[in-house]
Structure formats: structure tokens, C-alpha cells
């Protein structure tokens, strides 16, 4: 290693981390600020965390986000796992290419487009079949599940490609019909991937602002929607406290997902 590398590489790495994490650090530090003004430091305090807990609208929004996240991630995991297995094991079925494109589309489609098309679909459905009756929890769950399942399918398909097809053949050879092969062999081996996919779909649902704004209705405000709306009226230090809680939550989920993946990768 040359002298230049010894100094330049750590410096570049440091600058990268600095750029990425300084804003987060500022939010976390200022969440413990005593002052009502977001940008003026006046002393250490946890008062904004207290006010956060007393704010019913924030708690309602958090409750809605968690509920939508749980339902959407679960739905996305079931459908995404089936799609991933189909992609990896069903060979060259008819319209496989079309299926692959449709499955990957939400990963590359601009969120605004996804949100708008979902909104148009929900409105049309309401006019034609009378369901959904207005927009709210159900439409949010469907919207989040529809893009979450793409992420789950990608993860499951990758895991499936690593599994020896002889494992499923051995189970069939020992007398297990296809449904039991899936339940006793394929599914247990896919479980870590499905769990990682669930966590990712849950996190994405929790984070989403754009698609939720399109597919939600009056009275159903998710946490990102609440934060975005309140910031427009001026930043309250409560938002810093809320941001810190969310960072902690997301970091914990990320660590859990990583731990699951690492345990099964060995």
C-alpha cells in the first residue's frame, strides 16, 4: 500500500460516511434539544419525546402505518414467495418473459406513476364493482403489497436458484407428493429468504410517502404523510424526536434481517 493510498482511501471513506450520516446525526442530536427552535441549541432534554407520546395524531398515524405495514408485508410475502418459486422452478412456462417483466416493473417504475395508476384503478373499481368503498386502510395495504411482492420475489428467486433441485427430487423420490414436497422441504429452506423479504416489504411500506399519498383517503394518514404535512407548516422539534425513533426502528429491523441472512448463508 502506497502512502497516498494509506491516507486517500480512509479519507474518501470518511467523507462518504460523513455525507450519508451527518444529517441523521443532526436529527438525533437535535431531538434531545431543549429549545422550541429546531436550529438553536439550548440544552439537553427529552421533552419532545414526551410531547410525541402525548400527540394523538402522531400515535394514530404510527398505528395506521404499523397496521398497513404488517398486513402489506404479509400479503407481499405470500404472493412474492409463490412468484419467486414459479420463476425459479417452473421452467419456460408460457408468458414467462411477460411475467418476469411485470414482476420487476414496480422496482423500476417511478413511484409517482405507480401511485397514480393504482389510484386510477381503485377509482375505476369503485365505479364498476362498488369496491373499494372509498380509499383508506384496504387500498393502502393492496398498494404496498403490490410493490412489496416484487422485492420478496427477487429475494426468494435468488435463494431458490441456490438450492439443489435434487433436494426436491429426493423428497418426491421418497414418496412425497408435490404439495408435501413444498411444505416439508422447499418452504423450510426458503423461510430465511421469505423472512428477509417480509422485513424489507415492511420497511418499504413504513417508509412510503408517494404511493400512500395517492392511494390513501381522508382520515387515513400514515406516519410519513403526517411528517411531510407537518413539516410544511414549519418544523417542530417533535419531528426530530419522531425521526430518531424511526431511525432506531429501521436500524433494528435491518440488523435482524442481516442476522437472519447471515445465519442461513453459512
Amino acid at each position: 500500500m502506497t502512502r497516498g493510498e494509506r491516507f486517500v482511501l480512509p479519507a474518501a471513506l470518511g467523507a462518504g460516511y460523513f455525507f450519508l450520516y451527518l444529517p441523521l446525526a443532526i436529527v438525533i442530536v437535535y431531538s434531545f434539544n431543549e429549545s422550541r427552535l429546531v436550529t438553536v441549541w439550548s440544552g439537553l432534554s427529552a421533552r419532545w419525546y414526551g410531547e410525541l407520546l402525548a400527540n394523538d395524531r402522531i400515535l394514530d398515524a404510527a398505528g395506521l402505518s404499523l397496521g398497513v405495514g404488517l398486513c402489506a408485508a404479509t400479503l407481499a410475502t405470500v404472493l412474492g414467495t409463490l412468484a419467486g418459486v414459479a420463476m425459479a422452478r417452473f421452467g419456460r412456462f408460457r408468458a414467462r418473459f411477460l411475467f418476469a417483466v411485470l414482476l420487476a416493473a414496480p422496482l423500476v417504475m417511478p413511484e409517482v406513476v405507480t401511485g397514480l395508476t393504482l389510484l386510477l384503478m381503485f377509482v375505476t373499481l369503485e365505479q364498476v364493482v362498488g369496491w373499494p368503498d372509498g380509499r383508506g386502510f384496504a387500498t393502502l395495504v393492496l398498494a404496498h403489497a403490490s410493490f412489496g411482492l416484487s422485492y420478496v420475489a427477487v429475494i426468494v428467486q435468488a435463494r431458490m436458484a441456490m438450492l439443489d433441485p435434487a433436494l426436491e427430487e429426493a423428497a418426491a423420490d421418497l414418496g412425497a407428493p408435490p404439495a408435501r414436497v413444498f411444505r416439508a422441504v422447499t418452504l423450510p429452506l426458503l423461510l430465511p429468504a421469505a423472512a428477509a423479504g417480509w422485513l424489507l416489504a415492511f420497511t418499504l411500506s413504513l417508509d412510503d410517502l408517494v404511493i400512500a399519498s395517492f392511494t390513501s383517503g381522508p382520515g387515513a394518514t400514515t406516519l410519513p404523510m403526517y411528517v411531510f404535512a407537518s413539516v410544511r407548516l414549519g418544523v417542530s422539534p417533535q419531528v426530530n424526536a419522531l425521526g430518531t425513533v424511526l431511525v432506531g426502528f429501521a436500524a433494528t429491523l435491518g440488523l435482524v434481517a442481516w442476522a437472519i441472512w447471515r445465519r442461513t448463508a453459512r
Binding site: E169, A170, A172, D173, L174, G175, P177, L189
Partner: protein, 357 residues
């Protein structure tokens, strides 16, 4: 059904993308025998095994197991079990759970399953490892778990796909003995797929040599080795000297004028060819003796070109004129002339086969 073959395959065909992997194959396997499918990779032997297991659907032909037609029956309803080349042990189950898997599919009582698992563990000598997972076992132990798992259901026919290929040489010879012991104990018929001729010859009661989706020759190892049906079989199984010539006398012994050497050599018989036909002579290097031990009806002299020491024996290449080289495999305890030295060699007519293809 008690009498009759445990497996009867007739005119079986399977092609992938227009290329025939198995092409009109037919044979029978008797109850309790070890039958080897031998051939290089790509000859269709693994596809044939998968067709018998029900993991591939044949394009044509029939498969009958124990007298019952199984051609359209899916793998999970066939009374055969398979030891996969990769062993395919379920990584999320213990050794005992792996062995019990097939028994649980049959809905046996818990106590009966436990008894059968113990029996299998004892048979393959894995006592004490029942609660280990596959990634905590050595290669040889995994192989034995795979064997126990597929034998637990007491199939009449067991299919083994390159069962020893993943083991190192020393372990392979040891495991070969184990396979024979276990096969004799259970009386199950084994169909063994292998590219290793030594493995096939050592284990099997009958060997089918495959080439491009077809069976080139089928018979007991000794017959296939001593009387190969074609140059392909002679060359694939063991080492062989092949000499081109014209059949002069189709009697027994036969006479063949060998073009390159311009001499007449004696062979066991005419190999079914008529006098005047173009034929090949095949003689194994171990049947060629060098002076002063040389003997037999066919004698010639030449020059040692090269010799390689193989441990218990020495492989000697002798140029005998006309551009032909004859290899002799002589015991290492015999003195071998150095390269460049003149030597006489000889082999008996009984050791020479006449091949027409």
C-alpha cells in the same frame, strides 16, 4: 409377483431439444443383483436412471417395476428409491429425520418409524450421529445417510447415481466393500450409474456399457472385459491394443493378416465375421508378455519406446514395425529393457478378440 425381473425396460427413448439422450434402450434387472450402467459423461446413463426413478417422462417405451407398468406413474408413487450424486440430504433435518422422511410419507406408526430408523442407522454404522445435521458430517458419513434414507422404505430396487464419485480414492475402495455388504444384507437390486470402469467391474454382477444413448454391450464384467463387442467397449474398459487387419481364416483359432505388420496373427475366433472381412484385433496389455517370459502363438520382436512405472506393474510401449506400437503390462518384479533396447514379445491366440465394429 415374486418371479420375473424386478425391472423391465423396453424401447425406452428420451430426447432433449432434438438430441436423443436415451435411444431405444431395453434391458432387465433381476431381483437382488447389482447392475451397472457404465459410460462416459453425456452417454445418457443418468437420464436413463432418472427415467426409471420417474424424475423424467420418457418420449417412448415402457418401464415395468416388479411386473407392473410404471411408465406414466409419478416418482412419488414408484416403489424405487434413489441415492443422488450430491446425496441431496435435507439440510434442515437431522440424520434421523432424514432417514425417517420416506417412512413418514408412508404414514407408518411413530414406534415403527423409530424402529426402522434404528435398524438403518445400525446397518450403515452411523450409531451416535442420529442428531447431527448433514453439514456436521464428513463426505463418507453423508453418503451412508443417503444410502440409509433410500433403503429405509425397503425398496425392491435402489438406484445409485455415481455414489462413490464424491469420495477420495481410499474411502472409495472401503465404501465399495460397504455397498456390497449392505446389498447382500438387504437383498435389494442395485442399479449403479458410473463412469468408473473399475467401480463397475468390481461391484456389478452385470454391466451395460452405454454410448450415445444406447447400450453397446451388456454382460457379466468378465465377459465384457475379455470379449468386448466393439472397439468402443474394448477401449472404454481398461487398456487395449487395437490392430487393423483382414480376416484370413474364420475358424477357431482364426487367422488375421495384419496390414501394418505384414504378418498373420492368431485370434480366439472369427468374431462372427466371414473370411476376407476388414476387422480389428484387440489384445489387453496384461496378456502381452515380454522376453524371456514371452510365450503364445503370436510372437514378434520390436524396440522399447517408453515405459512407465505404475507401482505393482510397468507399462511398456514396444514399436513392432510398420508404425505400430504394442503396449505390454508386465509385473514390476520382472526386468524391463531400457528404452531403445530390443525385445521379443508374445501373446496367446486365446487372448485376442476379433472385432468387426
Amino acid at each position: 409377483m415374486t418371479a420375473g425381473p424386478v425391472l423391465r425396460v423396453a424401447t425406452l427413448g428420451k430426447s432433449f431439444g432434438g438430441i436423443a439422450a436415451v435411444d431405444g434402450v431395453g434391458f432387465e434387472v433381476e431381483a437382488g443383483e447389482i447392475f451397472a450402467l457404465l459410460g462416459p459423461s453425456g452417454c445418457g446413463k443418468t437420464t436413463l436412471l432418472r427415467l426409471i426413478a420417474g424424475l423424467e417422462v420418457p418420449d417412448s417405451g415402457t418401464i415395468a417395476i416388479d411386473g407392473e407398468d410404471m411408465t406414466g406413474v409419478p416418482a412419488w408413487r414408484r416403489p424405487v428409491n434413489t441415492v443422488f450424486q450430491s446425496y441431496a440430504l435435507f439440510p434442515h433435518m437431522t440424520v434421523a429425520q432424514n432417514i425417517a422422511f420416506g417412512l413418514r410419507q408412508d404414514g407408518l406408526a411413530r414406534a415403527e418409524i423409530g424402529r426402522r430408523v434404528d435398524e438403518m442407522v445400525a446397518l450403515v454404522q452411523l450409531g451416535g450421529l442420529e442428531r447431527r445435521r448433514p453439514d456436521q458430517l464428513s463426505g463418507g458419513q453423508r453418503q451412508r445417510v443417503a444410502l440409509a434414507r433410500s433403503l429405509a422404505k425397503r425398496p425392491k430396487l435402489l438406484l445409485l447415481d455415481e455414489p462413490l464419485a464424491a469420495l477420495d480414492r481410499k474411502l472409495r475402495e472401503q465404501t465399495r466393500g460397504e455397498l456390497v455388504r449392505i446389498q447382500a444384507h438387504t437383498g435389494t437390486a442395485f442399479i449403479l450409474v458410473t463412469h468408473d470402469q473399475e467401480e463397475a467391474l468390481a461391484l456389478a454382477r452385470r454391466v451395460a456399457v452405454m454410448r450415445a444413448g444406447r447400450i453397446e454391450q451388456l454382460g457379466p464384467p468378465r465377459a465384457v472385459y475379455d470379449r468386448p463387442a466393439s472397439r468402443y467397449v474394448a477401449d472404454f474398459i481398461g487398456r487395449v491394443n487395437l490392430l487393423e487387419g483382414t480376416l484370413v481364416d474364420a475358424g477357431a483359432p482364426a487367422a488375421v493378416r495384419c496390414g501394418a505388420l505384414d504378418i498373420v496373427l492368431r485370434a480366439r475366433d472369427g468374431g462372427g465375421a466371414a473370411a476376407g472381412a476388414a476387422v480389428w484385433l484387440a489384445v489387453r496389455p496384461e496378456h502381452v508378455a515380454l522376453d524371456p517370459h514371452g510365450a503364445g502363438e503370436n510372437r514378434m520382436s520390436g524396440t522399447v519406446v517408453a515405459s512407465s512405472f505404475l507401482g505393482e506393474s510397468v507399462l511398456v510401449d514396444v514399436a513392432v514395425g510398420g508404425g505400430a506400437t504394442i503396449r505390454a503390462l508386465v509385473p514390476a518384479r520382472h526386468a524391463v529393457p531400457a528404452p531403445g533396447g530390443a525385445v521379443a514379445l508374445g501373446f496367446a491366440a486365446a487372448a485376442v478378440s476379433v472385432l468387426t465394429r
